[in-house]
Amino acid sequence: MSVTNEPVLEVRDGAVSLGGRPILRDVDLVVGQGEVVALLGANGSGKSTLVKAAVGLLPLAAGSVQLFDRPLHAFEDWWRLGYVPQRSTIAQGVPATVREVVAAGRLARRGPLRLPRSADRRAVREALETVGLADRANQQVSTLSGGQQQRVLMARTLAGGPELLVLDEPNAGVDLISQQAIADALATRAAAGSTILVVLHELGPFEPLIGRTVVLREGRVAYDGPPTHLAGAGHLDAGHGEHCEPGEPIVHVPPMSGLLGEER
């Protein structure tokens, strides 16, 4: 699929090995300015690995990653990137308030040894309002539900005001209220022109946002195109031949959602 917009995230011939085992091979993924791309695939197909490599958390065995036209090793404008991990350690160890965790998202813009300015405080407050947790700012993160903690992760990234959002399964194991809150927050960012790459297991409440889907299978790109080409748009069926409509590409996306079989 050709991208006419200026690319903000580019993976070329990407290969990643974990513990000597190849996870990704020959992956090309280009996300253009303003695009909203869903990255789909079965468990173990390499979705999370791909986004982690794209934001510099995993080394590439081959190929290259470019963020905003700079090779990853030379990339310095980290405030332009907003990564939302799938799981986090924010609720472990010493207590921390919601506000403290979200304020960590400002550090790409706020250098060391500088006190927070009113702009920093306002960004934290607005990010919490966006995900519907404004009244929880002083609460201890570990007392929140899993879905609320996922919203805290979302708010932490939003607080940095990034141009490119990369989210790793923001709706895995998350209650419906939180899924909707996260989808709404993303819709606002997308309308404001942000570029979004989101790993999903099922489109769910994100469906109206998605402009393009990329499906990974066994570490390679199996499909890259508009979401309507997938079976029933958003109803990603298992593709067991017999109940597929004629002409639909067979895309092996497992019927299981994060409900039961998710690897933790």
Binding site: W78, Y83, G93, V94, A104, L107, Q140, L236, P255
Partner: protein
């Protein structure tokens, strides 16, 4: 009150107070990173440092600081390289440092007794120079812990995310290790190398029962550490007890006394968390027509549910009901 104003006692009180402030400040980051025993590991390595000092005739405090920093950075690098987990990395350095130190002392022809004052502390014989060195080093630890709190918190709280905000995770992790090593060398004179870790960890454990935030935990832990140190020294002076172990026992007592209160506070706090109510109907008809007919071998996970079978479909449980499917 005379005994507390004697010159050696004033020096002991100052040294204990700054140790009590600095140790929990850096200890908060160690507890967050699940490296509570790091202080112990560094303490053991410092034995080698002390032995080197005694053998070469240089100041054991100086050699201990240098060796402790080298060891702490080694622990961090082993941990970060992923070759051994944090606790295994600690154990490797831990025993190497202790055995090496004891061996050096023996080879040097000095009795093991010569390192006793470092193992168990020698607060009452601390010299004016040592007090100033302690104040300076502890001040450095407190100043850096507080001024770089946002960065150190981010790196300890979620290392991967911190990396994607452009923070140099390795730099801050090594900084935490170096500050821990410096703190251990300061506390060596107060409570001794064998009890160092107690001052790094116990006040944090006491504080986090009551606090909701990271910064408030750190500040409360510093107050708890300060109180335990000062009360411990005063108590040891009046009751003629060894100051190091008295300080640690007072800190532990503080934890034990506050633990029941802390449990009540935490239970109350959890009970007061408002519950978010969703309004999904208990049973919900699936959008018709449902294109796929569930049955044995249809590819969807089948789950027995009372008198019928549900099929896991797209994250929902579908149950055959008449000509359609219910969501269960």
């Amino acid at each position: 009150m005379d005994i507390l104003t004697a010159a050696f006692m004033v020096r002991a009180l100052i040294a204990a107070a700054v140790t009590g402030l600095a140790a929990p400040a850096i200890g908060t980051f160690l507890v967050q990173r699940r490296l509570s025993l790091m202080g112990d590991g560094i303490g053991h390595i410092s034995v080698t440092g002390v032995a080197l000092g005694l053998l070469t005739g240089t100041s054991p405090t100086l050699t201990a600081v240098v060796v402790a920093i080298v060891g702490a950075v080694a622990i961090e690098l082993i941990r970060a390289s992923g070759r051994a987990s944090g606790d295994v990395a600690l154990a490797l350095i831990f025993y190497g440092g202790l055995a090496g130190g004891l061996m050096l002392v023996s080879l040097g022809g000095k009795g093991i007794a010569s390192i006793n004052s470092y193992l168990f502390g020698s607060l009452l014989s601390i010299s004016p120079t040592d007090v100033w060195v302690s104040v300076g080093l502890a001040g450095l630890v407190v100043a850096l812990s507080l001024s770089l709190l946002p960065q150190l918190f981010s790196v300890s709280n979620d290392e991967d995310f911190a990396r994607t905000t452009g923070l140099s995770v390795r730099f801050y992790n090594v900084l935490i290790s170096v500050l821990a090593a410096v703190t251990v060398s300061v506390a060596m004179r107060t409570v001794g190398l064998l009890l160092v870790s107690a001052l790094l960890v116990i006040p944090v454990a006491t504080a986090q029962q009551f606090s909701r935030g990271f910064r408030s935990t750190m500040l409360a832990a510093m107050v708890a550490g300060l109180l335990a140190s000062v009360v411990g020294v005063a108590l040891s002076a009046y009751a003629d007890l060894p100051p190091g172990s008295t300080i640690v026992l007072v800190a532990l007592l503080g934890f034990a006394v506050t633990a029941p209160v802390g449990m009540v506070v935490q239970r109350r706090r959890l009970a007061r968390v408002p519950f978010e109510m969703a309004e999904p109907p208990a049973e919900q008809a699936v959008e018709e027509p449902h294109r796929h007919a569930h049955g044995p071998g249809c590819g969807h996970l089948a789950i027995e549910h009372g008198d019928h079978v549900d099929y896991i479909h797209d994250g929902h449980r579908h149950a055959v009901h008449g000509g359609h499917y219910d969501e269960h």
